[in-house]
């Protein structure tokens, strides 16, 4: 009555989970990075004192465990009657979580650009924006890239926690199969392999870009 062997359909089920993991990660990393850049630049421009509210807010997202953030975020959206789907709630919470870390990465990258280099740019008549766009952005990106790749990989693995909101992503899909097939080690091995297959290209992309940028 119950099939206890791994079928092709089960692998398809895992693949669907992987797609969900990728979707949540992609949306959160994209939104989190955009927010992180905005907050990072703001923190740099405003200085320690004036950016205190931003810093405080982001510190909350960095220090409260993600699981609690997800549960509280979900509770909050139902209290406020926003009617968000679990996917939306998950992405919003994960984006803010990503943004909190990304802000620090961006801020660090910007401060790594020597003040004298920026002064030279401004001396050539460049506006603040031109300096940011043509000098600071490319240099800060090079400095920040390894940390940002690390953040992306981290968020992808942390995204497993959205299963608590009922999303069937890779880990949850694996759990369901484990329950049915009673083969935890085997299933988790496959699950881990899929995580690796997703992560590996991202890590390599980082390595490739670092290498390409290092010759100048």
């Amino acid at each position: 009555m119950f099939d206890t062997a791994l079928t092709l359909a089960d692998l398809g089920f895992l693949a669907q989970g992987a797609v969900m993991t990728l979707a949540v990660t992609a949306v959160s990393v994209l939104a989190g990075t955009i927010l992180g850049v905005v907050f990072g630049v703001l923190r740099n421009q405003l200085g320690t004192y004036w950016s205190l509210p931003i810093t405080f807010l982001l510190d909350i997202f960095r220090s409260v465990p993600l699981l609690i953030q997800l549960v509280l975020g979900n509770a909050l959206q139902s209290i406020m009657k926003l009617g968000w789907a679990p996917f939306t709630t998950s992405c919003v919470v994960l984006s803010l979580y990503t943004a909190a870390y990304c802000t620090e990465i961006v801020r660090g990258g910007i401060s790594a650009v020597p003040a004298t280099t920026r002064r030279a740019a401004r001396s050539l008549g460049m506006t603040w924006w031109q300096d940011m766009r043509y000098i600071v952005a490319p240099l800060a990106t090079r400095v920040s890239l390894p940390a940002w790749i690390g953040l992306t990989l981290g968020v992808m693995k942390d995204s497993a926690l959205v299963l608590w909101l009922g999303l069937i992503e890779l880990l949850r899909a694996s759990q369901i199969l484990v329950t049915r097939l009673q083969e935890p080690l085997f299933i988790l091995l496959i699950c881990g392999a899929i995580y690796f297959i997703i992560s590996f290209p991202i890590a390599r992309l980082g390595g490739y870009l670092e290498k390409r940028w290092s010759n100048d």
Binding site: T116, T117, R119, R122, S123, L124, Q130, N215, D216
Partner: protein, 240 residues
Amino acid sequence: MIEIENVRKSFGQLEVLKGINLTVQKGEVLTIIGGSGSGKSTLLTCINGLETIDAGRIVVDGTDVHAKGTDLNKLRRKLGIVFQQFNAFPHLTVLENVMLAPVKVLGQSKAEAEAMAVKQLTHVGLGDKLKVYPSRMSGGQQQRMAIARALAMSPAYMLFDEVTSALDPQLVGEVLDTLRMLASEGMTMICVTHEMKFAREVSDRVAFFHKGVMAEIAPPEELFGAPKDPELKTFLAATH
């Protein structure tokens, strides 16, 4: 013409410029000498508005640099400045370093900017380094690139802030030669320098700064030959 009228500037408690009065005419080469902390570098960064001033006025071709509403980005197009640090843009090739501002700031076409960049780089002896990244060049070459980068904006004035101070001794000569060449071409220049021999050769006038005051200003043969200020005498004795 650059007119500096009674300029004062403090960093916190420390007053680094104590009422400087100075006028630099078109075509003039002025060098500023003096010990460290005498305010000479600060004056240069005040002229192009990188630093604010606390009192007085700096007027460049009729434009009050520190007045409200002065478009500093526009003003800086006519004031080239080269610093002690080479300040190359490390992610751009030599050619791109020089082309960036003419394209983005002056709105020149790529072809126009490239022609100008090649001309200026060839002028400073870097015509064979166009596709090279700055990190592959010596300090002297990077500094000459910085000079070409400033010249590509076709500035009316060039400000040089101790441009040879961070260089290895054997590289100082090539950069000074570039400055000599510019001076002989009639460029209006203000050079802050520790190279006394150079100051003596190229300057129309030499100014000696001491503790935020311009203690003496005179043509080089007079200032070096018959210094009047006692601090200047001490300074010159120490540098020989």
